[in-house]
Symmetry: C2
Subunit: 423 residues, 2 copies
């Protein structure tokens, strides 16, 4: 195998013909393979089976609170304690919410829009312009929340250490820049871990907007795939030490620890922020589902138990990630047409195809029955300026299906590259 | 006992002295009794104990959907079917949400504010003025949602048949009137059932606002206290027949059927409305907790099973309602100083004290350790123009405590009346 850039026209045509034959064979099989979303597979779901019948009539009262009844808007104290231990914050900095951190994030942005945040001079709806920083590639659902409220999405490049901090520090001088989306550990999709320096620079930002919201989605805080748990700094402390105690809102959930559709989500923030947000949340909710909080506390117990469970998840995920990485290494690496990250945790492999070929490659995939996250989804407005980034989600399919899907993916990436180079 | 209006000054003074002695005795006991909220008591919670371990690894897949995983934003089909049967709608008109109908209502109003409803010319945030009709006495949490979004709350009188429809029909001619709150069966707090004629007139409203939102909170749809289930018309059908298919949003939940903090909430609305709202909800949530939906379907099964369970609730609630009504009948009725409803279902007894005495009576209650919903709470902005209505919630305390609390309440109501009449 030679790098594609070294091939003559005739060699490209020959290579394309061979790929096309393999492609047509796969297409004739009428496959239906899905690598679109970071959805845990069924083996992972079964790890949490013991949680199903943990609650009894005798244990659903805790700390003097009946988890079955109304009340305790900010969550059960025992649940706050568990999540504070996991995130390295204080229990009083934790709000335990419903089944989705996405909803907590949406609700925070929605409240910024309708009522303003703690230090907002006015609701964001009353501002001429609101801009939001979107380190990209990033998480499409993040970007869409802010887009949905009419905010202007500003792309910031991702580096191997996190967002390009020179660009961020420059951007926050604009008072209409009201916040930034971050996935600091095993970022979605790159799988990189923000460096110490990046975190320090983020905590020490001096945004012109008094109500700048650092949306710190620690979605993969305990989600190692290769190796043991990698400790990761709590973000509330450096923000507080930098004089920015109310700038940060950290999110996490058990969606990829227990059940994705029936987990528990949390928001960590300063006590002042919690007080303010709870005063607004009180109109929206009497309380979140404390039975599910308690079910989680009884099952997950403490950080040690959580980390042991996550190693079980890792055992299931590892062969899937390896199937993706091995296929890329074998079939794509020698051709020198793409780059990708080799993540140690999280849920994705971020693949950068030859510029201008991502859409075409995924269209070919779709034709052959392989569904991926749409090309461009990892950028604001769904538009990747280089038409290059593709997010691969290996968690859901069984390994054999995944190998087949990756074989098809590699064929499609190659075909798109050859088409681009000219046939 | 004579009517207070018949008493001489000396008789009033004498009566007051006797009451005061009884009051001081109670106060010295340092009681802590709560009749503030419609919170089910512990015996009621125990009726749903079998629900705790219904789910197993084998039954959490249904209709081809794994309830543990992400997806199915609008809810499990089997849950839609159950709630459609309960409310008399079609399954495709049902959205099954999270643990609280209050949250579904808030989210709908919030989306009207930020994005507009299906037929809105623009988001409500962009309107000069938005007014909302509040039949009163009504539910404080309803009123507060609309107040929280800066809407102007318009009080409409409640009659024994529901809202004063002459006033409503007149009010909706104003295009800035964008909606109305209703609790149509066992209304909060009056406990009345809207008459057929009222429902017809509501369904046939011709609001000037194209996006008028009828917020139909059917919170007590199967919540009889005395007697068998009273069938109640589905509201979507008459609205559709009247040419108003998209005017109505109906809400219900299992908060007072299973666990108040861990129930399942639904919104019924036209298919067109569901389509529009789901398109906005998709930014906020990937899916609600389908495990809890399934747990409810397995436990509640069908309407027949639900109605049988509600009769068990009624057995527990009946002595509590009777304790309230008996105390009022014995201690207050002969004095001719107050009026109250005798509800057949729901969660409240609505008590109208002598005008200008509700606040004083409740202040006295509080002093003696009896906590009630704040006077005025049942009116917009928490201001009862007559300072008369008091919402009594008999469900939570054990019967013996309730009797004691009602004894204190009756004393306080009498003392406040005597003070008002002059001592």
């Amino acid at each position: 195998m030679k790098a594609y850039s070294q091939l003559t026209l005739a060699e490209r045509q020959e290579a394309y013909a061979i790929l096309q034959a393999r492609y047509e064979h796969y297409r004739s099989l009428g496959l239906n393979l899905n690598m679109a979303r970071g959805k845990p597979g069924v083996q992972q779901l079964e790890l949490s089976a013991p949680m199903l019948d943990l609650l009894t009539i005798d244990n659903c009262k805790v700390d003097g609170i009946d988890a079955r009844n109304y009340g305790e808007l900010t969550g059960l104290p025992c649940a706050k304690k568990l999540f504070a231990e996991l995130l390295g914050t204080k229990p009083e900095e934790i709000l335990v919410g419903g089944n989705a951190s996405l909803t907590l994030m949406y609700d925070l942005i929605a409240k910024a829009y309708t009522h303003g945040l703690l230090h907002s001079p006015r609701p964001w709806a009353k501002e001429e312009t609101v801009k939001f920083l979107c380190p990209s590639p990033g998480y499409d659902r993040h970007f869409k929340i802010t887009e949905n409220f009419g905010m202007e999405l500003i792309t910031v490049a991702m580096t191997e250490n996190g967002p390009d901090m020179d660009a961020v520090e420059e951007a926050v001088k604009d008072p209409t820049v009201k916040g930034m989306w971050c996935v600091p550990k095993y970022s979605n999709p790159d799988g990189i871990i923000y460096s110490e320096e990046t975190i320090d620079r983020i905590a020490n930002l001096k945004p012109a907007a008094p109500d700048f919201a650092l949306m710190w989605d620690n979605a993969y805080c305990v989600h190692e795939v290769y190796g043991e748990f990698r400790p990761f700094r709590d973000i509330l402390t450096p923000c507080r030490e930098a004089g920015n105690p109310d700038m940060v809102y950290e999110f996490a959930s058990t969606s990829k620890i227990t059940f994705p559709g029936a987990g528990v989500a949390v928001m960590a923030a300063s006590v002042e922020n919690q007080k303010y947000i709870t005063s607004l949340l009180a109109f929206q909710s009497i309380s979140y589902d404390k039975m599910n909080q308690l079910r989680h506390v009884l099952f997950l117990k403490d950080k040690e138990t959580v980390l042991a469970l996550m190693q079980e998840h890792a055992k299931i995920l590892r062969p899937r990630f390896s199937a993706v990485l091995d296929a890329l290494e074998e079939q794509i690496a020698p051709l020198d047409i793409a780059k990708w990250e080799k993540p140690l945790g999280g849920y994705f492999v971020s693949f950068n195809a030859m510029e201008g070929t991502a859409k075409r490659a995924l269209a070919l995939c779709k034709e052959a029955g392989v569904v991926m996250t749409g090309a461009g989804a990892t950028f604001p407005y769904g538009k990747d300026p280089k038409d290059s980034n593709i997010r691969i989600a290996p968690s859901l399919p069984p390994v054999e299906e995944l190998k087949q899907a990756m074989d098809i993916f590699c064929i499609c990436v190659q075909m798109a590259a050859l088409e681009k180079l000219g046939l």
